[in-house]
Amino acid sequence: MTPRPWLHGFLDLCLLAMLRERADYGYGLSQRLAAAGVADVPGGTLYPALLRLEEQGLATPAWAPSEAGPRRKYYAITEAGLDVLGGQADDWRRFRDGVDSLLSPSEVPHD
């Protein structure tokens, strides 16, 4: 799985991307991150990040009951969240392409 320092810069991006697909609560998001093979994010990293998104107005929470156990706080992405997601997704692609280009063997001209 991803080394933690890498994730740190892109956790918000991943969370916003998942919320764009559908509203979700903390534990559900951590399972989706793990299932995607991105990272096993500890609660101490995940929940502060969600709270930060909420306070920055990028995601908005709604409480919903669960079949078993305590009620859950579902987060939905906001307009502002979509804007930030768009910008960060571009940053991510540039970064990914840059790293890829460094990793792939340089093209030797054939002649």
Binding site: G26, Y27, G43, G69, R71, K73, Q88
Partner: protein
């Protein structure tokens, strides 16, 4: 031993979180732990550490719109090609650094790589072996330690340092007391510096460096001995100065928090 949610809430309060908000955060954190079918201590680690982590996370600047950056102001400090040698030993060479009003620069690197020496060069207290230094007139320096007199009280220091900057005693004292509260410190009237803890002494240094409202603030690890809550306050204070248009140079060996500064000068890597 108190239980986890109580300890967590108490630490949030101690860090200056409003009571209602602290209660809400404690409740939510308990629910989050339940969501993960774990005890809070297993999910989040020790209560006081998680409280500090959460407060630090929530005070981080928002992406894009969140940070109200003013356009960088006039150049307050400019180093070009600065070197320092002692005899044959080169401490550092060819350092360039420009810091404008509204910017924060961090000087980082291992012990002994000359961070404090470079700061003294910025302040004009030490002469570089080569290169040029230009700085604004009003400079505040907060040394790592020293600069204060053990037998004087905080108020007496405010008066003394204020006088050096041309402030009348009453104004120097009230300014000093006001700046102290921003660092969560209320100086006691009778207490002499020699009776203060290391952290409190550093707060005094910080207040003295800022007393005359300098345009350029030079800070040498000024939070040594601060506890975590005050450490968070310290960085908030740095960013408040920055947003007020001042230029700040901080010497530090701590690498977190650097994502929020404008320039990082790594003396160790050179």
């Amino acid at each position: 031993m108190t239980d986890w949610p109580t300890a967590f809430e108490a630490e949030l309060l101690r860090l200056g979180v409003q009571p209602a908000r602290a209660r809400r955060l404690a409740d939510e954190t308990a629910q989050q732990a339940a969501e993960n079918a774990g005890a809070p201590g297993d999910v989040f680690g020790p209560a006081h550490l998680y409280a500090r982590h959460l407060v630090a996370e929530l005070s981080a600047p928002a992406p894009e719109a969140g940070r109200t950056r003013f356009g960088a102001g006039p150049v307050m400090l400019s180093l070009s090609g600065v070197s320092k040698r002692y005899r044959r030993q080169t401490v550092f060479a060819d350092v360039d650094l420009t810091v404008r009003g509204g910017e924060v620069a961090a000087i980082v690197g291992a012990n002994g790589c000359g961070k404090s020496t470079l700061l003294r060069i910025c302040a004009g207290l030490t002469r570089p072996s080569a290169g040029t230094v230009k700085r604004t007139r009003r400079v505040g320096l907060v040394p790592q330690d020293g600069g204060t007199a053990g037998w004087l009280t905080a108020e007496e220091h405010f008066t003394l340092f204020g006088a050096a900057a041309g402030m009348v005693p009453g104004r120097a004292r009230s300014t000093g007391a006001h700046l102290a509260t921003r660092l969560a410190w209320r100086p006691r009237r009778q207490q002499r510096v020699q009776q203060m803890s290391g952290g409190t002494r550093q707060k005094l240094n910080l207040v003295l460096g800022e007393l005359h409202a300098p345009d350029l603030l030079l800070l040498d690890e000024p939070y040594q001995g601060f506890d975590q809550g005050t450490y968070v306050d310290f960085w908030q204070q740095v960013f408040a100065w920055r947003d007020a248009g001042r230029a700040i140079v901080v010497v530090t060996h701590l690498l977190h928090d650097l994502q929020n500064v404008d320039h990082v000068l790594d003396l160790g890597e050179r």
